[in-house]
Symmetry: C4
Amino acid sequence: MMLKELREKVYEANMDLPKHGLVVFTWGNASELDREKGLFVIKPSGVDYDELTPESMVVCDLDGKVVEGDLNPSSDTATHAALYRAWGEKIGGVVHTHSRSAVAWAQAGRDIPAYGTTHADYFYGPVPCMRGLSEEEIERAYELETGNVIIEGFTERGIDPVAVPAALVRNHGPFTWGKDAAAAVYHAVVVEEVARMAIGTEALAPHCGPAPQYLLDKHYLRKHGPNAYYGQGGAH
Amino acid sequence: MMLKELREKVYEANMDLPKHGLVVFTWGNASELDREKGLFVIKPSGVDYDELTPESMVVCDLDGKVVEGDLNPSSDTATHAALYRAWGEKIGGVVHTHSRSAVAWAQAGRDIPAYGTTHADYFYGPVPCMRGLSEEEIERAYELETGNVIIEGFTERGIDPVAVPAALVRNHGPFTWGKDAAAAVYHAVVVEEVARMAIGTEALAPHCGPAPQYLLDKHYLRKHGPNAYYGQGGAH
Amino acid sequence: MMLKELREKVYEANMDLPKHGLVVFTWGNASELDREKGLFVIKPSGVDYDELTPESMVVCDLDGKVVEGDLNPSSDTATHAALYRAWGEKIGGVVHTHSRSAVAWAQAGRDIPAYGTTHADYFYGPVPCMRGLSEEEIERAYELETGNVIIEGFTERGIDPVAVPAALVRNHGPFTWGKDAAAAVYHAVVVEEVARMAIGTEALAPHCGPAPQYLLDKHYLRKHGPNAYYGQGGAH
Amino acid sequence: MMLKELREKVYEANMDLPKHGLVVFTWGNASELDREKGLFVIKPSGVDYDELTPESMVVCDLDGKVVEGDLNPSSDTATHAALYRAWGEKIGGVVHTHSRSAVAWAQAGRDIPAYGTTHADYFYGPVPCMRGLSEEEIERAYELETGNVIIEGFTERGIDPVAVPAALVRNHGPFTWGKDAAAAVYHAVVVEEVARMAIGTEALAPHCGPAPQYLLDKHYLRKHGPNAYYGQGGAH
């Protein structure tokens, strides 16, 4: 069996999603890339979390084709593959969930503003909500085009996917990523937290703007980049 | 004792309701139909979940009369019976809860709009809120007429109960159904999730409409019907 | 030691409050009346729940004076005593909590409207919010006057405390009662549930009125009174 | 190893933060002062809660310099140090969290009004939201200036930090304190509870003012000061 260690990591990342309260039933998936081999490991589609095993994970190539595995891979596999093809030098793990507060923003068709330091610690700017897919895109290749719309959105708005490791797919929900599957899970937790906090903030102060840019800079940069001083010298 | 296996299934379905956080105290019930025998098994009325056993389940005929069981059946038995009489070729399990967010919509007298794909994956259109019962209907046969109002609402609005396996009874709460009791429980979880997400969406974007129809089509049809490709070949 | 069995019941009722998520730290108390002896048993003041024992409960007379017990009784003892003096023929248990949603209504100074059947199953009309205490009342005998304001509110508005076993003390929180301490705990859970549902309902339909009176009648009366048919013949 | 007992206490206080649901990942920290030695013990930066031990806690002097410990102290150490330098005669423990509802208020840039007795039992007046830090302050010494802004806010508004043991740092989150680390944790729980209740209150009654001053006085003073009568003679 290929990629034994990676299967284990992806299995653990998937199991962490319901533990963090991000996923009910089978509504989420995590994957991780083996950059050298050009393969990624992803959760099988529609399998209950308590029936998952490292062995049931599916190995795919960067076109999203199954290379090893008895089960169908996640129905979102083509989205994961598109993100790895575009950003595989920068990111090594992808997660998708239907976590409640992030979905509320995605359904509202709105970016999550950077209202505070919880947000800025991980996302260097608003978490962007992508444009909706056209009917033609949906019919042609829905999951692939979902990935393309994310890449297009980041490119057009000049957002670095390392600095903002999350996107809201309109009327759908959050995709997050990171250096590996565990980091993508971490960011899935953060995007749900900041989405929830921001709903509260808007209820209390409907017209408050985002936090000042210099505060956002400070928080992001004390955790990330060459001058980071948070933690013990190893960032997420 | 009759229908031993079905009693076990209905018992398990009922026990899943508090596990999913849908029910406090005794505020919920699940049943399942034995189509060939024309009987269904349902939870007894007002018994604590931790005192339930497969043996305490009650067997009723399609008029809602008790066929076997020492306890009174759920006070909502006539509603379950009405749904099986009308739709028993299509549905095999029914659930009723007072889950919080779905009740909030039912009390507001509003359909839950199809704001996103979480909704569309299971409900092919809004989850409809039924008209209120008249005083005369309530006095005549409250629980029976509750079932009738659901059937009337679906018929008048041309909604297929297989495509939208949930209804909100006005000023009351959700009823859900499915191919068996487990599927009805599943849909009870989903209706609470989408009800909660939709409250958040309306807070963030009061005038946003539902998701585009072609997106709703895509999500429903990738999970249901002859061209479904979600999961491992067996949908709920 | 007096009232051994009653101490046990009151202990259990108090322990159920944090189990139901109604109480953090020591922010709640339950008591039960021994009608014949004219005594009631109540939680000691400010003691952590995991240090409570049946023996640490405090026995008081109907003036709220300690009859047996080494610890100070709950600071709300005079409120409990006032309710037993006024309504002791009808009620046998009292509970006070600071549960979140019920407190939100109390702080807003508003009755919880009877928006649906979850409410009507236990409260035959709105859960009333009392008038605020005057400065003079607070200075004279705060906890006693809190009880008096509840009694006054029910009397002036013609509400039967058996039909509506809950009140919101303005800017404070819910008091509930019932035939014994366990029933009062039950009603404390219900008032929090309906308070939470009603916040959601108002967000979705700001001007919706209460449920029709005939629906409220039906639900209350199918659970309570001579023609009740919910459950197995023993109501709460 | 220095301050063995204090390390144990600070370890326990930190471990209580995720138990109370106030902290996800590493987003919180607690410290406690040894007033005689002029040292305080604080959590290390960015270490997972399940890897913490009493030995991994860091000892700092009142300038925030590490005196003993292999790990970097919390990135918020300079804020803790500033509070101890200014108020060390009065307070002995400090906590910082990103708890959801308190952050929502901090991001909204608003004081939490004293809407009721839950609030008044612990905070004698609104929980104040501090002014934002200037760009210059952030660049010069962010964490130190965060502490200075809290001290300045309390001084300018004439608030006694013992009477109001919590502050909201604008666009950031709550800091709380108390006689020791455990008391600061307690106040961190309370500020989250009252923040959450107050969001509900504003949804229900947007223009309701705070509770009357004489009610707030009564509740604060029955728990605190020479005439306190809540509990068993030992307040928090």
